[in-house]
């Protein structure tokens, strides 16, 4: 038996179907409480300034913890109650819709930091539509100022301990910041 197939060229024709409507499963992200970004405007030796970009207006709460703290230990409840085990600074800022744009920003002023330390800042947004997840960012504080020395002259050898105590009171600094080198002798006319 022989089977024979023959192809015939077909021209495309308009069958008359029209797309009436479409549907989508994506939803708008704008009204979900969220912290999009955290940028540092200034990081000093003992303080830092951050700007948080959020999806909605509300209050941004933050905690500054030692870098390396497991993120699982940093929850919104612990940030709000200032109970993070390695927390060194807490605070909040108002997330406000900017008049000249669509961004909602919150300014955060961090204080009480130590120089040349690695920290993690954890923030979350508390708004009328709910609480966001925690957003993390690492940063390092700046180096402290250089030390300085001064040559102080005495007429006779003195008790160094008494001298350090006196100088700490005059300069209003702690005694542990003062170091005395072995005195040298000089002749003055």
């Amino acid at each position: 038996m022989v089977l024979q197939l023959t192809t015939v060229p077909q021209n495309s024709t308009d069958v008359g179907h029209t797309i009436v409507s479409t549907s989508s499963v994506t939803t708008s992200q704008k009204y979900i409480p969220n912290v999009y970004n955290l940028t540092s405007s200034q990081i000093g030796a003992n303080a830092a300034s951050f700007t948080a970009t959020t999806s909605y207006s509300g209050t941004v709460y933050y905690a500054v913890v030692a870098a390396g703290t497991p993120t699982s230990l940093i929850t919104t409840d612990k940030i709000y109650n200032k109970q993070v085990s390695s927390g060194v600074s807490y605070g909040s800022g108002s997330a406000i819709l900017q008049s000249s744009g669509v961004n909602t920003l919150a300014q955060l002023q961090l204080k009480g930091l130590k120089t040349q330390q690695n920290y993690t800042i954890a923030v979350y947004l508390n708004s009328t539509i709910g609480i966001s997840t925690v957003f993390f960012k690492n940063f390092t504080t700046a180096k402290a100022s250089n030390g300085a020395s001064i040559k102080i002259a005495m007429s006779t050898p003195i008790n160094v301990t008494s001298y350090v105590t006196a100088l700490s009171q005059v300069l209003s600094i702690v005694r542990t910041r003062i170091y005395i080198l072995t005195p040298t002798q000089a002749l003055a006319t």
């Binding site: 000093g44 030796a45 003992n46 009480g112 130590k114 120089t115 040349q116 402290a144 100022s145 250089n146 030390g147 300085a148 020395s149 001064i150 040559k151 102080i152 002259a153 005495m154 007429s155 006779t156 050898p157 003195i158 160094v160 008494s162 001298y163 105590t165 006196a166 100088l167 009171q169 005059v170 300069l171 600094i173 702690v174 542990t176 910041r177 003062i178 170091y179 005395i180 080198l181 005195p183 040298t184 002798q185 000089a186 002749l187 003055a188 006319t189």
Partner: protein
């Protein structure tokens, strides 16, 4: 007649928790403040306020390696390295 002075080189370290006033500013303020010097004189009568004190800023240096790292002891389950630096 010459007088003998005893010069105490006094170093102020920075404050890691509050760096708002740098040590060199603190000492410069002291050096130009007669009241502060008078106060120190009450505590330390041997202090000579008229002495022209000089102030220097102390810059940190990066530690430098003096001799490269080398193995000084090696066993089947331990190894000891040695490296030396110029500064402590």
């Amino acid at each position: 007649m010459n007088n003998r002075y005893y010069i105490y080189d006094t170093i102020i370290a920075p404050n890691p928790e509050d760096d708002s006033i740098a040590p060199i500013d603190q000492l410069s303020s002291f050096n130009s403040n007669s009241n502060a010097k008078a106060l120190l004189l009450t505590f330390i009568p041997q202090f000579i306020p008229s002495y022209p004190s000089t102030i220097r800023e102390i810059f940190n240096t990066v530690p430098r390696i003096r001799t490269q790292i080398k193995i000084v002891a090696l066993t089947y389950n331990s190894v000891t390295f040695r490296v030396s630096f110029w500064e402590q």
